[in-house]
Structures are given as C-alpha cells and as structure tokens.
C-alpha cells in the first residue's frame, strides 16, 4: 500500500498482490496514511492488483494468530485488532474531504467495508461485491453492515449477507452500492475526474456538507464489534477458518 499526492488530491494505492488482503501490515499502513492526509482536498482509493480492489481480511493471518493463542487471549487480541481497524475506518469515513473509490474485480468482505467508507464509489464491469462472512460463522467486522445499511436497502443487505452471494457492478449500480460505472479498466480515470471536480469546492463548505449529508452509524458500529466478538468466541469459527485456509476450490468463500 502506498500513497501519492498531486495538486491537492491524495491517492491511496492498494498494491499488495495477490488480492490486497487486509491484515496487520496493511492496517498499520492505513493508520499512517490517515495520519499523513494533511491538507488534501480530495482522496482517491484504488487498486493496481489485477484480481481487484480487495478480497477482504487476511484470513490466513487471522487463523495463524488465533491458533497461536489460548481462547481468552484470542478474543482479547481480536478485540484490540477490531478497535484499531474501526478507528482507522471511522477516520476515513469522517474525513472532511471527499473520498472516491475506484473499484474493479473482487470487492469482498473487508475490501467492501473499506470501499463503503468512501463517499463516492465508481466501478468497472469486472467488479464483484460480496459479504461472505457468514460462511465463517461471523458477521462482517470492519463496519460493513452499518455502512451498507446506510446506502442500500435492507432487503439487499439481507440477500447479500444471508446467502453470501456476490453481485456484479450493474446490480450494485441498481442498488446504489456504487453510483457510477466506467468502462473496464477506466474506473480510476472516472474517480480522478470526480475527485478533481470535488476538490474545486470550498473546503469549509465541503466539510460542512459531508457532516450534514453522511449519516453517523457510530452506535451500530459499537454494537457490531460486540456481536462479532460474541460470535467469534466459538469453536465453529476456528473450524470454518481452518476449512477456508485449506480450501483450493473455485469458491472458497462459500461453505
């Protein structure tokens, strides 16, 4: 993960092959990124990895870390990790400047949760979205459900969560999960154009408008952490993680 700055627009580039899995290293990088945004006028988030924007949490790392600890210590470790990721995602969500995500390929789980922090989401036709966490005996843990519910219908939230299925960019556009489509490989161009446009507006007006327009989901985020931990603290989760890390089938995100 790296970031560049050009004429007031900061670009966060996800470039961790194979699929920008979010683990402890990328969390630390995200924290540094948010610290360094400074006086940027707009932010663009995109991936240069062919597989897509992000496949979500690094489940292999989560499994390794979990296996190495006793159950009580394991839950405490996950709580500390969730608090950090929630803090940095909340800072992204609440930035006073516009944030634009350019999406392609896999946008799953924690990757979708990162995208949901952004104000504007633009997808190309290869983008595919899913919250497959229930396969692990879990719900999304990085703020996904409250932020998804903020932007799309509860019916779609249930369809996605309760079946674990993935949807394409056209469906995401119909649902309001993304608001613009670009040609294949061109979502980044559309995102840069949107960010450059938004960056022209008066910063104080932009900050006030964002605070007014974007609903706070803080109360639900706090409840999500507690529910996630309650669910995590069960043998079925470790068993599901073990199955996932050893699965080499074409749909390892479904049980």
């Amino acid at each position: 993960m790296r970031w560049t700055r050009d004429d007031g627009v900061v670009e966060l580039v996800l470039d961790d092959a194979p699929a920008n899995e979010i683990g402890l290293r990328s969390l630390a990088a995200l924290e540094r990124f948010v610290d360094e945004i400074g006086d940027a006028r707009a932010v663009v988030v995109h991936s240069t990895v062919p597989a897509g924007f992000s496949a979500g949490a690094d489940l292999r790392e989560l499994y390794r870390e979990s296996e190495a600890r006793a159950p009580a210590e394991r839950t405490a470790g996950v709580r500390a990790y969730l608090m950090r990721i929630h803090a940095v995602f909340r800072r992204l969500d609440d930035l006073p400047v516009p944030t634009v995500a350019a999406l392609h390929g896999v946008v799953f789980g924690g990757g979708l949760e990162l995208a949901l922090c952004c104000d504007v989401r633009i997808a190309d036709p290869t983008a595919r979205f899913a919250f497959p966490e229930l396969r692990l005996g879990l719900i999304p843990g990085f703020g996904g459900v409250p932020r998804l519910k903020r932007d799309v219908s509860n019916a779609l939230v249930r369809d996605l969560l309760l079946t674990g299925r993935s949807i394409n960019a056209n469906k995401a556009l119909q649902a309001g999960l993304v608001t613009q489509l670009a040609a294949e490989g061109r979502a980044i161009d559309a995102a840069r154009a949107a960010a450059a446009q938004a960056a022209k507006f008066d910063p104080a007006t932009m900050a006030a408008a964002k605070r007014f327009i974007k609903p706070s989901v803080d109360a639900e985020l706090a409840r999500e952490i507690e529910l996630f931990l309650e669910l995590f603290d069960r043998p079925v989760v470790q068993e599901a993680l073990a199955r996932f890390v050893s699965d080499s089938g074409p749909m390892p995100y479904l049980p």
Binding site: P18, G52, G105, V106, T163, R165, P250, Y253
Partner: protein, 80 residues
C-alpha cells in the same frame, strides 16, 4: 427465447474467447475447471462475464458443484 442448446453453444463460444481455448476442443460434458485451468479469482471473473453476456444474475451458491459446461449452461438457461 433461446433454448438450452443455444445457451450451451454461446457458453462454449464465450469460454473459448475468454480463456483462449480452441473452440473445437471444448465440449458440454467437459470439466470446466480442469479444461480451462480456472482458479477462484478467474471463476469470479468468469461469473461476472457470464452475467454480463447473458444478462442474468447467477447466484454463486447455484453454481456450487457445477463442474461441466452442460451443468453451467442449464443454470444460465434457468435464469434467462
């Protein structure tokens, strides 16, 4: 309305183009994953391209256990 044979033929044409396989080497009863060497990321990409091409939604769980082109064509046909 296209019949199942039409859907199967279109599917094989698409798979041939998408994965650079000779069209003559593909048959309905072949194992797609073995024939085309598809991994999990390519399977998602193929799913998206199938949905876009045929104008249907294909829930992932309906495709679990489907291994040959004929089975996939049947699932697509059921949504057309």
């Amino acid at each position: 309305m296209p019949n199942l044979e039409d859907t199967t033929r279109e599917l094989l044409d698409l798979a041939s183009t998408q994965f650079g396989a000779s069209r003559d080497s593909l048959a309905p009863d072949q194992d797609m994953f073995a024939t085309l060497g598809i991994d999990s990321m390519q399977a998602l990409d193929l799913l998206t391209r199938l949905e876009n091409h045929f104008g249907v939604e294909l829930p992932d769980y309906e495709l679990q256990g489907v291994s040959d082109f004929a089975g996939l064509a049947e699932r697509i046909h059921a949504r057309r």
